[in-house]
């Protein structure tokens, strides 16, 4: 059997770290091949080697049976290899067509935007994409930007498409749409390498799976011969339980009360329209919804980071409307923000400094104006042990940690103070299986301790797994609240799409 691509014995060292340790990867033409592994398993490194961004320390790459040497992405593109990175490589201020032809060879140094736009429209249309070549990229949604990236690769003649965690940024509908296109590509003998750590997606979409763990090859299997559980075991190296054991909730007093809350977004538009919610001690209220329907604003008004334009918010009976982030934190409200790197952490500061971000100004971490470093250090050592934050020591910068460990820093900081209310937004976004499991267990433990938890997530599975009650938000309105045991996936989906509304109960 001839393979389109064979990577043989690939080794890649970064200093003393071996990111790829004798990895073999064989991909047939026209297949959808998953590259599965936890964060840091070496998936991206391997693909960056294939795309000419890194040089392997040793090993060979055969493309269509011939050994090739890839010195830059240019070489890869010339061979017909295209890559869509997890973080898009687009210039937001330029139009779609300008982005697509950026860096392509052109005759006489001239750019013919009109012809290019026409061609791009045709390529797009043949895959069922409707795209305006003259739209500015910053105006596009994340899903549309990804389409631009895919079209860019196809337009440049890619026959082998590498998709690096393409679903991490997409809504469920967009994921479905993406899968449709990927299948279509495969039908036309395009080859797709699909990098992921989401097992459901891999099982649904791919024909074969290569699993990496800790920079080493675990094996390549056919999806029809394996199960989700087995893949998880290969990926993590131990048994993984997908079902969480959940006690029935023991409800306490109302902790969070929102009464017809309204708020504006950055553009001055109403992002929240009369939201009324209640969360009691000892329960998890899940907020389901498609990204961008007011979830960010919801988390921000509750935690005091955004002003209300109408309505009241009470925490444990006390009106906190119009107070600030610090006041609300001091009412024992923890906040796991939606973007840990942009908001929840200071990447250039050490773990121990990040762990006091909320409490640096009060004992035991400060006395008067002065910081108490011994207490800060002791706090870090203790929390790192308690929350299994893996780093050599507490002086390491937050940016050197893996995503999972970064989230554990946030989690440790927010939860270790035994808050009465936890607002958690996308708490597992971008995390691998192990870290996700950890975060879920911690949140459940907090609920069992008696904390009220508001879980905002776009992953319906996560909401269904953890919540005791589920509210659906659509265009800034709550479409309804249902108890978990009466929640129905289809019904929730209709509510998320705004086509069904439950009577206020």
């Amino acid at each position: 059997m001839a393979y389109l691509l064979e990577m043989q014995d690939i080794v890649k060292d970064f200093g003393t770290l071996r990111a790829n340790d004798h990895i073999n990867l064989k991909v047939e033409e026209g297949e959808i091949h998953a590259l599965l592994g936890e964060n840091g398993a070496g998936k991206s490194t391997l693909m960056n080697i294939l795309y000419g961004l890194y040089h392997p320390t040793s090993g060979t790459i055969l493309f269509r049976g011939k050994p090739v040497r890839l010195n830059s992405p240019h070489d890869a593109i010339n061979l017909g290899i295209g890559m869509v990175h997890q973080h898009f490589m687009l210039v937001p201020a330029l139009t779609v067509v300008e982005n697509i032809i950026l860096g392509m060879p052109r005759r006489w140094g001239l750019v013919d935007l009109k012809t290019a736009a026409q061609e791009i429209r045709e390529v797009a249309r043949s895959y069922g994409y409707d795209i305006d070549p003259f739209a500015k990229v910053w105006q596009l949604s994340v899903g549309e930007q990804q389409r631009v990236e895919i079209i860019k690769a196809l337009y440049r003649g890619a026959r082998l498409l590498i998709l690096d965690e393409p679903t991490a940024v997409l809504t469920p509908q967009e994921v479905r749409e993406l899968f449709r296109v990927i299948r279509r590509l495969a039908e036309e003998k395009y080859t797709v390498i699909f990098i992921s750590h989401k097992l459901n997606e891999v099982m649904e979409l791919c024909t074969r799976v290569t699993v990496l763990r800790g920079g080493k090859l675990v094996g390549t299997v056919n999806t029809c011969d394996t199960t989700k559980e087995e893949l998880a075991r290969m990926m993590v190296g131990r048994e993984v339980f997908f079902q969480l054991d959940k006690e029935p909730p023991s409800l306490g007093d109302v902790v969070l009360e929102m009464d017809k809350v309204e708020a504006l977004n950055e553009k001055g538009l109403k992002a929240l329209k009369g939201v009324s919610l209640e969360v009691r001690a000892g329960e998890i209220l899940g907020i389901a919804g498609v990204d961008g329907n007011g979830q960010s604003e919801l988390a921000q008004v509750i935690t005091g980071m955004r002003k209300l334009s109408a309505g009241r918010i009470r925490i444990k009976g006390r009106d906190v409307t119009g107070t600030g982030a610090r006041y609300i934190y001091e009412q024992r409200v923890a906040h796991i923000p939606e973007d840990r790197q942009a908001e929840g952490l200071v990447m250039d500061m050490s773990i121990k400094e990040n762990l006091i971000l909320r409490q640096y100004y009060r004992p035991p971490f400060a006395k008067g104006l002065f910081l108490k470093w011994p207490a800060i250090k002791e706090n870090a050592v203790q929390l790192m042990k308690e929350y299994d934050i893996r780093a050599p020591h507490e002086e390491f910068l937050a940016k050197t940690l893996s995503g999972g460990n970064q989230q554990k820093v946030v989690l440790a900081r927010e939860v270790s103070t035994q808050p009465d209310l936890i607002v958690a937004m996308h708490p597992t976004r971008g995390l691998d299986v192990g870290a996700t499991e950890y975060v879920h267990r911690r949140l459940l433990a907090e609920r069992d301790r008696g904390a009220a938890v508001l879980l905002i997530s776009t992953e319906l599975d996560e909401i269904l797994n953890l919540s005791d009650r589920i509210a659906v938000i659509y265009e800034g309105e709550i479409m309804g609240v249902v108890p978990r045991d009466r929640a129905d996936r289809e019904e929730l989906g209709l509510m998320m799409a705004g086509s069904k509304r439950l009577k206020a109960s």
Binding site: F14, G15, A19, G40, S44, T45, N48, L53, Y54, H85, Q86, H87, F88, M89, L90, V91, G304, M305, G324, A325, R326, Y327, Y329, H335, P337, A342, E343, G344, L345, V346, M347, D348, M349, E353, L357, R358, Y360, Y361, A366, L369, F370, L371, W373
Partner: protein
């Protein structure tokens, strides 16, 4: 240890380029550097001059660094230096009948507050109107320089009014000379104390922690409930105050009166000092001494080797360019070695400095 590699190699390359220029001019580089070294370090007086020239650079280096650590770009140390010199010397001249132990600290304080308020203007414009402090501080430099010109040609002119300069500062407000026979004055000690203050403030106080968090990640600062407005105002006041002290110490310790254009660009060289010293306390002192040494040795080089003193600026410029390049290079390397290659961050490789700090 690794942190020293770049600054030191930057200095070596700077000296090498300087040597090349001297050679092209048909002069002897070895001879030039020998006299430079001799001028800067070869005698008690030379050493003292090196320190005298380094003193204002420490202040202005701290001025840039403290703002930088809080995510602000203070290009206004030069103007703050002029205003601080003005207010310091005004107290030194017109407040009479006080003992040295009271008068001198008061004059220094006036310099600090004067420069501080000048910095605060830029801070207030940023907080109130969102005006970039990069622009406003640069603009305020001109205002300050002309303000000083106005004062010494009018209200503060020394009677009978033949020269555009102020009367001499009272003895009770002069920074005493600490090594007799030289111009080395107490201002250097004040500068070292300010370095200690800088360190304690940033790394051992809650306000300094807030400043650093705001500098690295303003959104995290908002999340943590920090008051961005108060931080910006306070840090700009502090940065301005450091700049003001540079002017006050130079006038109270060396010049002893106010006149036009009394600073040869100490405020701008402070930026170079902070860059070369990576905003670290020790780094700022060492970089200041280096530049001070180049200045004081440069004169000797001109006299004995016939090499124009401007070579010193060539060396200084090359050093800064190299350090700035290293910053870019490191960013590039980081992206290359990191687990994820992020072309976008390279394309938008604006220096971290330009990052928007407070909204």
């Amino acid at each position: 240890m690794k942190r020293f590699v770049t600054p030191i190699s930057a200095v070596i390359i700077g000296l090498a380029v300087g040597a090349g220029v001297i050679y092209v001019m048909g002069l002897d580089p070895a001879e030039a550097y020998r006299s430079l070294l001799k001028g800067a370090l070869g005698s008690k007086n030379g050493l003292a001059e090196t320190v005298v020239k380094a003193t204002p650079l420490i202040f202005t280096g701290l001025s840039f660094a403290v703002a930088r650590m809080a995510g602000l770009l203070n290009i206004g140390a030069e103007g703050q230096l002029y205003v601080g010199g003005l207010t310091g010397i005004a107290v030194g001249i017109y407040l009479q009948g006080l003992p040295l132990a009271v008068h001198l600290p008061l004059a220094l304080l006036a310099g600090f507050v004067g420069g501080g308020l000048w910095g605060l203007i830029a801070g207030a414009l940023k907080v109130r109107f969102g005006a970039s402090e990069i622009i406003t501080t640069v603009m305020l430099n001109y205002v300050a320089i002309y303000l000083v010109s106005l004062m010494v040609t009018g209200p503060m002119i020394e009677p009978p009014g033949n020269f555009p300069q102020s009367p001499p500062v009272l003895d009770s407000a002069r920074l005493p000379v600490v090594v007799s026979g030289t111009r080395l004055h107490l201002g250097f000690v004040v500068a070292l104390l300010m370095v200690v203050f800088y360190y304690v403030f940033l790394w051992h106080t809650t306000v300094g922690y807030e400043a650093r968090v705001s500098g690295h990640n303003p959104r995290a600062a908002g999340y943590a409930g920090m008051n961005a407005v108060r931080n910006t105002l306070f840090v700009m006041f502090l940065a301005g105050g450091m700049g003001g002290l540079a002017g006050a110490s130079e006038l109270l310790g060396v010049q002893h009166r106010l006149f036009q254009n009394f600073s040869p660009g100490y405020g701008f060289d402070g930026i170079a000092v902070a860059l070369l010293g990576y905003n670290s306390p020790i780094g700022i002192i060492l970089a200041s001494l280096l530049f001070g040494g180049l200045r004081s040795g440069g004169n000797m080089m001109q006299m004995t080797a016939g090499v124009p003193v401007a070579i010193v600026y060539v060396i200084q410029a090359v050093v800064i360019i190299f350090v700035a390049c290293e910053e870019l290079f490191r960013r590039w390397q980081k992206n290359k070695v990191g687990p994820k290659f992020n072309l976008r961050s390279l394309l938008s490789a604006q220096p971290r400095e330009v990052k928007k700090s407070h909204d």
